[in-house]
């Protein structure tokens, strides 16, 4: 039972890491940028969700509103900032680092904007279903209906993504634009537009992660920082290139951390996430699902 419930708890937190990892991978694949601003985009979207909840008291309205807001913010970031960046910084020694600085700068910009609008105080909203654990006989396990909702929502988001990517023309364009932009362009794909759509998808996924995780913590301009780092760890474990890898990487990380918390040490879980990451990369430098040798960045 203990094993089973640890697994479930890990699955639930892993589902959220996966969504964040997915957002990072979507952007990385299409634009070759590790988007540190993802935490900022997600926090802005989550605050918009919070606004909806505090006005209407309706979580089910807030979730799609935040998702759409996240997508719009993502598209806006690409059009307003990343396109300019790509135009201006094509080569040169700083080409690899400039996106890091720009997205970090954007993270700071969004965080301080959010702080100006909503202040730095903690905000909270309730989960739409109970977070009281499921009870079997006399035993209550930590896994609750809300945890179940998190897992289901994450699965739905990923299922929709995989249908779009595998079964639609848009998905084909997205994949083509990511891996062979020049050929895609020749084949008539509007690469820039498709890329922006990729950013929008990423923004939506990050927003859902933010809205889902907040009821179990609280909301402040910095409250998704840890999620960004863990999502990035998940994405790297999964190999950065594949959406499936991101999903698996996040879940592996979630379950791994839950087991360390339960069986090893309650205080070492945090540093051990990074030790795990470093070990994974040393054994398999391109992540669990990465192609052999990885892609030269």
């Amino acid at each position: 039972m203990r094993l089973f419930s640890t697994l479930l708890i890990g699955l639930s937190s892993g589902a959220i890491y996966s969504l964040m990892a997915l957002a990072l991978v979507l952007v990385w694949r299409s634009t070759r940028v590790v988007n540190f601003a993802q935490a900022g985009q997600a926090i802005a979207s989550t605050y918009i969700g919070y606004l909806v909840i505090s006005r209407t008291d309706n979580y089910w309205l807030a979730l799609p509103v935040a998702l759409v807001a996240g997508a719009l913010i993502g598209a806006l970031v690409d059009v307003a900032l990343i396109r300019t960046l790509n135009k201006r910084v094509k080569s040169g020694p700083a080409a690899e680092m400039a996106p890091v600085i720009v997205t970090l700068g954007l993270l700071g910009l969004i965080r301080s904007t959010v702080g100006m609008i909503w202040g730095g105080d903690l905000k909270a909203y309730k989960a739409p279903v109970t977070n009281h654990g499921f009870t079997f006989g006399t035993t209550t396990i930590p896994f609750s209906p809300y945890n179940l909702l998190i897992v289901i929502t994450a699965v739905i988001v990923m299922a929709v993504f995989s249908i779009i990517f595998q079964k639609t023309n848009l998905g084909l364009s997205l994949r083509a634009a990511a891996f062979q932009p020049e050929i895609a362009r020749l084949a008539g794909v509007r690469v820039d537009l498709v890329r922006t759509i990729g950013w929008a998808f990423a923004g939506g996924a990050g927003a859902v992660a933010g809205v889902l995780v907040t009821p179990s913590n609280s909301l402040s301009p910095n409250s998704l920082d840890l999620l960004l780092v863990l999502g990035f760890v998940g994405a790297v474990i999964g190999g950065l290139e594949s959406l499936l890898g991101a999903a698996i990487g996040g879940v592996v990380l979630g379950i791994g951390l839950a087991f360390i918390l339960e069986y090893v040490s309650t205080s070492l879980a945090f540093p051990s996430a990074f030790i795990v990451l470093i070990l994974v990369l040393l054994i398999k430098p391109s992540g669990i699902l990465g192609k052999k040798g990885g892609r030269g960045a």
């Binding site: 890091v100 700068g105 945090f270 996430a273 030790i275 990451l277």
Partner: protein
């Protein structure tokens, strides 16, 4: 070659004299900022060597600075060694750690290397809490003592920090400059711009990368030791993730491939918060606005600067051409 080296030495001596002269005329606040500037110059030099030359990315140099800082303090407090020796120990121990890390890093590319070093920056300082010898969150005091009596009674503590930091920075930048113009520097540049032909011409890519990481780590370790000296304290929170990001930012603002630009990058890092505070103070407004305005302005300046001058200011280009 020999002639240019002696000219360069002359330039360094002139800069040193100018710095020491300046420290006597500007106010104390600027003197302290001068010490911070020196710390950033050294830290940025470590990134210039690593990224600008060997082409490896690190988002975790703050963690290496932490190793340098802790090494210096432990050596100073336990073995009662002098400041220069404790700085040397910081360099050596961080370089040793960096060589292990570099061995791992040489296998990694682009974002994976960035990710690993990022993980290090987040994870390592929190590990410091696990060992009581490192003093936990409160940290360990690092008292370098008052300036020598011979310098006079009105010689302030901050001027003393500045002299130590500026001298250390000048020496290490001088050494780094010489490394970069040596055989190794040329190998790194070849390796970064054309890895395959470099490999064909007999450069051992892996070994060369590890060497770069090792030297870069040693320099970062010195920056860490200097930082904790100005703080009088070593604590995990002196090395937040934002420090790692700040020095990378400084290097990019400097144009990543030259040390001379590092001064500009460091100046920007020290000056931006002041400028942001000043602007925010002028604008005023409600409390939640005024609290967030400096962060907003700082971020905005960073983004705009990188978009407008992705490869650093033109001035630095001149300097870098000279060293090519």
């Amino acid at each position: 070659m020999h002639k240019s080296r002696s000219i360069r030495l002359l330039v360094f001596i002139v800069i040193a004299l100018a710095a020491f002269f300046l420290s006597n005329v500007v106010d104390e606040l600027r003197v302290f900022q001068g010490a911070s500037l020196s710390v950033y110059i050294v830290a940025i030099a470590s990134i210039v060597l690593l990224t600008g030359y060997s082409g490896q990315i690190s988002l975790g140099h703050g963690a290496l600075m932490a190793i340098g800082g802790y090494s210096a303090v432990l050596a100073h407090n336990h073995w009662k060694v002098s400041i220069p020796i404790s700085f040397a120990i910081a360099i050596v121990s961080t370089a040793f750690f960096g060589s292990i890390l570099g061995w791992a890093a040489a296998r990694l590319k682009g974002p994976y290397l960035a990710g690993t070093t990022l993980a290090l920056a987040v994870g390592l300082p929190s590990l410091a809490n696990q060992f009581s010898v490192l003093g936990g969150e409160q940290g360990l005091a690092f008292d370098v003592g008052a300036p020598p009596k011979s310098l006079g009674s009105d010689f302030t503590q901050y001027k003393w920090y500045f002299w130590i930091c500026a001298l250390a920075a000048l020496i290490i930048v001088w050494i780094t400059q010489n490394i970069l113009t040596s055989r190794y520097g040329r190998q790194w540049r070849a390796m970064r711009s054309a890895p395959i032909s470099a490999s064909l011409s007999g450069i051992h890519i892996g070994r060369s990368k590890v060497l770069a990481f090792t030297i870069s780590s040693g320099i970062a370790g010195l920056a860490g030791a200097m930082l904790v000296m100005t703080l009088n304290l070593v604590t995990p929170s002196a090395f937040p993730l934002s420090l790692s990001f700040a020095i990378v930012t400084g290097a990019v603002l400097a144009g990543v491939t030259n040390l001379g630009g590092g001064v500009i990058g460091a100046l920007v890092l020290v000056a931006i918060p002041d400028i942001a505070d000043l602007l925010a103070g002028k604008m005023g407004g409600a409390e939640k606005i005024s609290a967030n305005l400096p962060g907003f302005i700082t971020s905005l300046i960073l983004i705009v600067t990188v978009l407008l001058l992705p490869n650093g200011p033109k001035l630095s280009k001149l300097v870098s051409h000279k060293t090519k």
